[in-house]
């Protein structure tokens, strides 16, 4: 039924680096570009390696003089003109791509202080001009852009739910039956899209709840009493005081920590299911599936959605993803090589810790979440334990933090020098300082340290998770200024 509705949708023309692309109304820009066969959208900060859709830097582009626009959260509209960022002098003739030839070990040490930089004020300043240009990625925002303060709103509800999947819906239904006021925040343009694409039966949302679709829950402040949410389209944000909060945020699948694991074409199951639903995987593209459980059921479903699946295997069995600019195949531990253009990962599944960490971590070190306050509960998959990361082999060429080009080898050498504190490693390497702010790099960092030292991964803690991770603009945040008074600590 969804397909028939889609087929009837009017085509929309958008532009990518000046090239016209036919999109379908309702597409996100990322979906439309994938359907058009465009694989490279964004690249890493230092080495300009092309990145896949699992990584925020693999999804950012420029729009109307504004850098860092997320293509997966941008709905197409006629005439939408997008261009690649972090290119020079132009997207078609990009000399910065030559940075790929630089050995990764030369650009170790954060972005801006590798060992070979000149020291002393004047010489450094000349270098710094180049660095600021390179590091900035997106264009400088045009000074002529009109800026708008988005007047926000403060509201109180009985229950705030984050996540529109089955668990979020069940929480909404139970609360609505008790007559409580409910607000439900979900990231997608409609709630429960992943579950629906996977053929799961979704209970209908009850009438009378306030649904915020295409919104991000960006922060949980004051021991979880104050939830801030903002729409992806830049409109007014909300400061929500909720009697109870249900975090039904599910889990995210981590791409394998192997060389090539960050290439365009590597994608998590929800992304792949969404592309299939929107018929955005071009015919002829073969896929390989890896995961931690229920491969067979997932494979059957994906084939049913029309995917040419070349095979499936345990997540740990991939030792390398092949390809230079995008996926061309996978190499498995048993020596087999399988040609494919897409690698779908369905596990390791791990929850995103941002909101529960913000609500519970206290004190002056904040290296681990505390116990959740009584009014906050985790629902559904978000409540499941994170799947353990087994690093049987740790390939020096794999990138722990692909956006900032932090490879296993860099962490291995720092650990060999005795640096195993995650906050110190973050400062020395820049690991987790990119636009995803450490999800999932810090999980991999702890796993790699565990492998290198023999200590359990939990013993390393995690650097503090810090919002709002790009979920809020200055204009949106400004609109909340007079709504919430500073807290009186006494």
């Amino acid at each position: 039924l969804g397909r028939q509705a889609k087929s009837a949708a009017k085509p929309v023309t958008i532009f990518w680096n000046g090239r016209a692309i036919e999109a379908e109304a309702g597409d996100s820009a990322a979906t439309a570009l994938h359907r058009a066969g465009i694989r490279r959208l964004g690249c890493s900060r230092k080495l300009h390696r092309p990145l896949g859709s699992d990584l925020v830097l693999g999804l950012q582009a420029q729009l109307d003089g504004l850098p860092n626009v997320r293509l997966d959260r941008l709905a197409v509209r006629p005439g939408l003109a997008l261009s690649s960022q972090n290119v020079w002098p132009s997207p078609g003739f990009d000399l910065l791509r030559l940075a790929r030839l630089i050995p990764a070990r030369w650009v170790r040490g954060g972005f801006e202080h590798p060992k070979w930089l000149p020291s002393g004020s004047r010489r450094f300043e000349l270098w710094e001009r180049v660095l600021r240009f390179l590091a900035g990625g997106g264009a400088a925002v045009s000074p002529a852009r009109p800026g708008v303060l988005q007047s926000g709103e403060r509201l109180a509800v009985d229950l705030a739910i984050v996540g529109g999947g089955p668990a979020g819906r069940r929480a909404a239904i139970a609360a609505a039956q008790e007559g409580r006021s409910v607000i439900l925040i979900c990231r997608g343009p409609s709630p429960g899209r992943f579950a629906a694409a996977m053929g799961e039966a979704l209970p209908p949302l009850p009438a009378g709840i306030r649904l915020l679709a295409g919104w991000e829950a960006v922060g949980l402040y004051r021991r979880g009493r104050l939830l801030v949410a903002a729409p992806h389209d830049g409109g007014p944000a909300l400061a929500i005081e909720a009697g109870e909060i249900a975090l039904a945020t599910g889990r995210r699948s981590l791409a394998p920590l192997v060389p090539g694991g960050d290439l365009p074409g590597v994608m998590d199951l929800p992304t792949a299911a969404g592309l299939l639903r929107d018929r955005a995987i071009p015919p002829g593209q073969r896929a390989f599936l890896i995961g931690t459980s229920a491969h067979d059921a997932i494979a059957t479903r994906l084939r049913g959605l029309g995917l040419a699946l070349a095979g499936a295997a345990e997540a740990g069995s991939v030792i390398r993803v092949l390809g230079l600019d995008s996926v061309r195949g996978v190499a498995l531990a048993d020596g087999k090589r399988i040609a494919c253009e897409i690698l779908i990962h369905a596990g390791l599944w791990r929850p995103d810790p941002l909101l529960s960490f913000q609500a519970s971590a206290a004190g002056e070190l904040r290296l681990a979440p505390g116990p959740l306050p009584g009014h906050i509960r985790l629902c559904g998959a978000a409540a499941l334990a994170p799947e353990p990361i087994a690093c049987a082999k740790l390939d020096d060429r794999a990138f722990i933090c692909p956006c900032m080009d932090v490879a296993v080898a860099e962490i291995r050498d720092l650990a060999a020098d005795g640096e195993t504190h995650v906050e110190v490693l973050k400062r020395l390497s820049g690991c987790g300082m990119g636009p995803c702010q450490g999800m999932p790099c810090w999980d991999y960092l702890a796993a790699a340290l565990s492998h290198l030292t023999g200590r359990p991964p939990e013993s390393f803690g995690q650097p503090s998770h810090r919002g709002p991770r790009g979920g809020l603009t200055f204009g949106q945040a400004a609109g909340l200024a007079d709504l919430i008074a500073p807290e009186d600590p006494r």
Binding site: E128, R132, P143, G219, F474, A478, A481
Partner: protein, 380 residues
């Protein structure tokens, strides 16, 4: 175990002092820090450096510190990434325009290079700013920033090269008293006796002074800052907005990093951040630089400083305990660290209190000699 100087706190003050003492040839210097390297305010600050304020006391001290910044990479043998991209201060009212005039006069008298920033030049170096709101502007052309991770990395390496013993993750549980003097520090069951003991423990300094049975004026004070997503340069110099108590700069990484003050009392020992600072800072940005309104905020964090009655540092010997030295009360700690390290090292080694350091005496509140400085962007 014996140390010549035991320094409590391995932040920028503790490490700079240790380096300056070692530079003078002193041996057996030990630094103790309860947290991790760069875990305190030295790993989470504005990183901004200028040489002048409106009062002669601050201007003489920070003017000296700024000159030391210019040669710090050479002294340490490591790139601290100090960049003289300029430091602009903007006023939007008659009152703050007066502060700028007063500052320029003081700085001229103290030999610190600063000048008015004419509107065309302001538009050129800060193209996004709404200059119709600006009533007066000044710039320190050789002011700038030094990223804390680079500074701390250089300091740590230089200290280690000079044989300073750095003990992170080591809690000082007591300060040994021998009659009227401080005689070393206790770390659990271990006594490290020392000829001189220094408290440079940031927001913890008053509590650490309590271990020696003496008082230190001030209290822990939480500040928050945030960073935008990166982009190519749009802010030339570092920027301070006096009327709004806002400060910001664009890092070498492309992020616009800054913060502001909001009314309220931010005592408390948590690094969890809150909404008001982010929201007010964002509003200041949207009002002053409307073009940045659609930029996204990447992360927000908090740090804890030691706020004194006049927001000036407490620097020198403790009046109530011999051989106990203080480098605390910092709200402009990165800016002042090179001077504090040099002058305190001189005082510890020779007993001489330099006249640039003297106004920041630890007991100035008791003596009724608080310093009146109006060109700072922290306020009660």
């Amino acid at each position: 175990v014996k140390a010549s100087v035991a320094i409590i706190g391995g932040g920028i003050q503790g490490l700079m002092l240790a380096f300056c003492l070692a530079e003078r040839g002193m041996k057996d210097i030990a630094v103790f820090d309860a947290g991790y390297w760069q875990g305190g305010a030295s790993g989470r600050n504005g990183t901004m450096v200028r040489g002048g304020f409106s009062s002669p006391e601050w201007t003489r001290f920070f003017g000296y510190s700024h000159r030391l910044w210019l040669g710090l990479s050479r002294r340490l043998g490591h790139n601290v990434m100090y960049t003289q991209r300029g430091y602009a201060i903007l006023a939007e009212s008659e009152r703050t325009a007066g502060i700028i005039e007063e500052s320029l006069r003081t700085q001229r008298d103290c030999g610190v290079a600063s000048r008015r920033l004419p509107t065309p030049e302001l538009q050129r170096c800060l193209p996004a700013i709404d200059d119709t709101r600006v009533t007066a502007a000044m710039i320190f052309e050789d002011g700038g920033t030094a990223p804390h991770h680079a500074v701390m990395k250089g300091l740590r390496a230089a200290c280690e090269a000079k044989g300073v013993a750095l003990h992170y993750g080591t809690v000082v549980t007591g300060i040994e008293r021998a009659g009227a003097r401080a005689a070393g520090v206790w770390c659990g069951a271990d006594l490290i006796s020392a000829d001189a003991t220094v408290i440079a423990a940031g927001g913890h300094s008053p509590a650490v002074a309590g271990l020696a049975g003496v008082e230190l004026e001030g209290r822990p004070w939480r500040l928050e800052a945030l960073a935008s997503e990166p982009m190519r340069p749009v802010l030339g110099p570092v920027l301070a907005l006096l009327d709004r108590t806002v400060y910001m700069h664009q890092t070498a990484r492309g992020e616009i990093v800054g913060g502001c003050e909001v009314q309220g009392d931010f005592a408390g020992a948590t690094l969890a951040s809150d909404l008001p600072v982010m929201a007010h800072y964002a509003r200041h940005i949207v009002e002053m630089m409307p073009a940045l309104a659609d930029l996204r905020i990447l992360r927000q964090w908090a740090g804890i400083i030691h706020a004194t009655a006049d927001f000036a540092p407490l620097l020198g010997p403790h009046p109530d305990c011999r051989d106990l030295w203080i480098s605390a009360g910092w709200s402009y700690g990165v800016m002042g660290a090179p001077a504090a390290g040099m002058l305190l090292a001189e005082a510890i080694a020779t007993g001489r209190i330099d006249e640039r350091m003297a106004p920041f005496a630890v007991d100035r509140k008791r003596q009724g000699r608080l310093i009146c400085e109006s060109a700072i962007v922290v306020s009660d």
